[in-house]
């Protein structure tokens, strides 16, 4: 397969960037999108040019390191992470646009790499449970209703890749934050910090400069882990409840 790639190139966070066009040859349909970029970079290195910088780590679709907006879709046309997107989703001779996540809370570091530490700070604000560490506790000591366990698991699937923010026309982090809040707030282990968690995480999210939610649903469509849109309403419910409790 042969592809025309249009890739965002930007030297550093202060430099102006632009789309650059490359021809990539010798692509196998079984390659992942990242392997295709590796092929491009090997070629660039041989030609003495600067390789395209992009984030990646596990390449198994579970770490949340990879990003990329491909043809306008966060993580590309399939509902998975970019590392699990294969070149068979494209056709020989296609022109493919590759851009970094766009949000002012995610500044571009270089080329396709953005700084997502705003997410880390949201987690630091309340995405944890305070519990003594040590030996694993007796599993039956804290019973969790089946429905709650399933809801917690569903939200725990969030890998924090930031596709929700990248897809949102407002650069909002509501789907990410709601996944993290709901994951812990539904469990008994998260109950002692139920109110402070949602209040602190939402306050942090706002302070990071993410936009507000207008419920366009783009986030849930882009999410490679299928975090559902109603999670946002569930977090709003938690937030309103926490505010009532904080007052009374």
């Amino acid at each position: 397969m042969k592809l025309n790639l249009r890739v965002w190139r930007q030297k550093n966070d202060a430099a102006e960037g632009a789309m650059a066009t490359y021809q990539v040859d010798g692509i196998s349909p079984d390659m992942s999108f990242l392997e295709m970029l590796d092929t491009l970079n090997e070629d660039l290195i041989l030609r003495g040019e600067d390789p395209v910088a992009f984030d990646h780590d596990c390449r198994e679709g579970i770490c949340g390191a990879c990003s990329l907006v491909i043809n306008g879709d966060a993580h590309g046309p399939e509902r998975t992470t970019t590392c699990q997107l294969h070149m068979r989703s494209f056709r020989d001779g296609d022109t493919v646009d590759v851009e970094p996540w766009r949000a002012s809370a995610f500044p571009v570091v270089k080329d396709l790499v953005v700084d997502r530490s705003a997410f880390d700070r949201i987690i630091q604000a309340g995405g944890y449970v305070t519990a003594p560490t040590g030996a694993a506790p007796e599993a039956h000591a804290t019973p969790v209703p089946k429905a709650d366990a399933e809801s917690a698991f569903e939200h725990a699937e969030c890998i924090g890749c930031g596709a929700c923010v990248a897809a949102c026309p407002n650069g909002s982090a509501m789907l990410f934050t709601s996944a993290k809040v709901n994951h812990l707030n539904v469990l008994p282990q998260g109950a002692p910090e139920r109110e402070t968690r949602v209040l602190d995480m939402v306050a942090r999210m706002d302070a990071e400069g993410f936009g507000g939610c207008t419920l366009t649903g783009e986030c849930a469509t882009a999410c490679p882990k299928g975090i559902p849109l109603p999670s946002i309403s569930a977090m709003n419910r938690e937030w309103l409840r926490a505010r009532r409790k904080a007052k009374g």
């Binding site: 646009d97 851009e99 809370a105 530490s117 407002n170 602190d200 706002d206």
Partner: protein, 242 residues
Amino acid sequence: MALASSKEAAAPARPPSGTPSRGFWSSTLGKKTVMAVSGLIMLGYLVAHVAGNLKVFFGPEEFDGYAHWLRVMGAPVLHHEWALWIVRIVLLAAVGAHAVSAYQLSRRDVRARPTRYAHRRKGSSYATRTMRWGGIIVGLFIVWHVLDLTTGTVHPGGFEQGKPYQNVIDTFSTWYGNTIYIVAMLAVGLHVRHGFWSAAQTLGAGSARRDRALRLVANGLALALTAGFIAVPVGVMTGVVN
């Protein structure tokens, strides 16, 4: 996962972002709550308004009588027009709160996403994408509507207080009256379609199980309001109301 990218050597970490605030109004969720509640107040008013409008099809006596009743509503406890003024004040507050929160949130949203993608794609539904401009159109319409049929300032022909039936016919006998009104009512329908469902989500009423029902109610309300309001100019144009 947000990896600390390869910039530790280069620049110092990004300047610490804003300090988190726990205030209700300073939170995006607080502003959205204000928007949802004020929107639902206005929506409730619209339902009452369309019901009253449809009385036009029962003739001038009933329509004008209804308009008169609006002024003596709550009597004898309330003085003449007091109930009407209470409604007006509540509505004005709702419009103000809705507009201010929408403006502030929109400003913030634009700042949060300053760079567009080179490869653009059409995403959300038409109703969702037109919320901001649609809201502005409806806001401008309300100004014209009040000047036309409440104060009579820009009313075509002789505006007569207490004769709303004739006033309505006058307005809808002009091409621009019909055009402005029908366009605005289509905008209202679109706005309500996304707005009602969104308000439910913001107030925490949304869930996977309830989603279909909420969307159904939103679409039903939007359709009923638009059809009900547009029925009046269509009635005048076709001569059913004369």
